[in-house]
Amino acid sequence: MNTIQVNIIDREGARHELEAPTDMNMSVMELCKSYELPVEGTCGGMALCASCHVYVLSDQELPEPTDDEIAMLDAAFFVKPNSRLGCQLKLKNEMDGLTLELAPV
């Protein structure tokens, strides 16, 4: 298997079911941009802008955030315990069915 389904709830509450490749080293931020969802990804994926801030709504096991990601979330707003940066979540087969909500900007 090298595609999974990722569900994104946008800021208007609409649900988008995205087909996501797992063999392209693609992140959630890049996936959202490729489907033209309103995710800026201003810093290009370096965990430096938090424009790809998402809330994790499902319970797939995700890699622990790095220090860089924690530091950025420290300076971001609307942060909750289930906050992550989409640019730091690389798409993997284990994430099939992952459901995320875009955080306010």
Partner: protein
């Protein structure tokens, strides 16, 4: 009376692409002057990732962002570019003689027949907490930078943030202010361990008040700030009296005034013609991450190419009567300006 800085090309943005444009302009004997809101050249390479290696600069298997900027500064040194740093380009006006007048946030004026916008992600501005009336209190108790520490003397100050600047200013102002309250959303601080330790000591000895797992969600006052509303994860909302609120959450890039200069803009980027990277306004070019066109890639190496072509076109604007001849540096070398 202000003296105006006169040059051939005003480059807005001193990131890698703006710097390299000086080199390509220099080969054509055009002088450049760079303006940047940051206090040092290099743009985001210097400001946010100086120690990160870049792997796609042709000829460099790997180069640290900070080193690339140093090398570019060395490469353009023969062309003696001018710099206006720590000032944001605010306005652009066409003069009667056809030249452009660019004025900065501090009123410095620059005149040239050509402008290159090499503004990258835009100018770096403080990240503002999402509090409804915060703009109402800016300069009336809310400051996003500590510029003059003396204004906090014998005042009640609330600082918010968990990084080095929040920690450092808390330590510095502890002796000066009447009362310092530091608010942080988590229990752990990510600043330098020494600073974290010092802040903990100050909190234990009662010199400062430390509130963790909390954030500022409201501001009160009548024209001037009198207090802040704090929301604690477990204890709910409460108020703290304050004359100043200093949120220190780092910088974030914003397009800023460039959006109001009458250029065609698409999704926060300046639209250009790919034959010479000219904008919709003759004499103004946009190069690097700030521009957009079909197939655009935000890469430094693409920005270098864009700068090179823009210089050829800019020469015809700056010197309409002169002939332009293309030369290789291997043939002619570098002639300093």
């Amino acid at each position: 009376m202000n003296t105006k800085i006169e040059t051939d090309i005003i480059i807005i943005g001193a990131g890698p692409v703006g710097l390299f444009a000086v080199f390509e302009a220099g080969l054509l004997k055009m002088r450049c002057h760079l303006i940047d809101a940051l206090p040092q050249p290099g743009g985001q390479l210097t400001e946010i990732y100086p120690k990160k290696p870049i792997y796609d600069i042709p000829g460099y298997p790997s180069v640290l962002a900070g080193d690339l900027v140093q090398n570019l500064m060395q490469q353009i040194a023969p062309f003696s570019p001018g710099f206006t740093l720590g000032e944001r380009a605010e306005s652009v006006e066409k003069q009667d003689d056809g030249r452009w007048l660019v004025t900065t946030s501090r009123g410095t004026q620059h005149l040239a027949p050509v402008i290159f916008i090499a503004g990258g992600l835009g100018s770096f501005e403080p990240r503002k907490p999402p509090i409804d009336n915060i703009e109402h209190f800016e300069d009336h108790g809310v400051e996003y930078f500590v510029r003059t520490p003396d204004i906090y003397k014998n005042r009640r100050v609330v600082i918010a943030g968990g990084g080095d600047s929040a920690l450092d200013w808390t330590i510095y102002l502890a002796d000066l202010a009447e009362k310092i309250t530091l608010i942080h959303r988590r229990t752990e601080f990510r600043g330098a361990p020494d600073s974290v330790e010092k802040v903990m000591e100050l909190a234990e000895s009662g010199k400062i008040k430390l509130i963790t797992n909390a954030q500022v969600v409201g501001l009160q006052g009548n024209g001037e700030l009198h207090g802040v509303t704090i929301q604690h994860d477990t204890e709910g909302e409460f108020q703290v009296d304050a004359d100043h609120f200093v949120p220190l959450f780092g910088l974030t890039p914003k397009l800023g005034p460039i959006g109001e200069w009458g250029l065609a803009i698409d999704k926060g980027a300046v639209e250009v013609n790919t034959s010479d990277y000219s904008t919709s306004v003759p004499g103004i070019y946009a190069i690097g991450d700030i521009n957009t066109y079909p197939g655009k890639l935000k890469l430094i190496l693409c920005g270098f190419h864009e700068a090179t072509l823009a210089c050829q076109s800019a020469f015809k604007v700056a010197f309409p009567d002169k002939k332009l001849s293309f030369k290789y540096t291997t043939v002619t070398g570098i002639e300093a300006l």
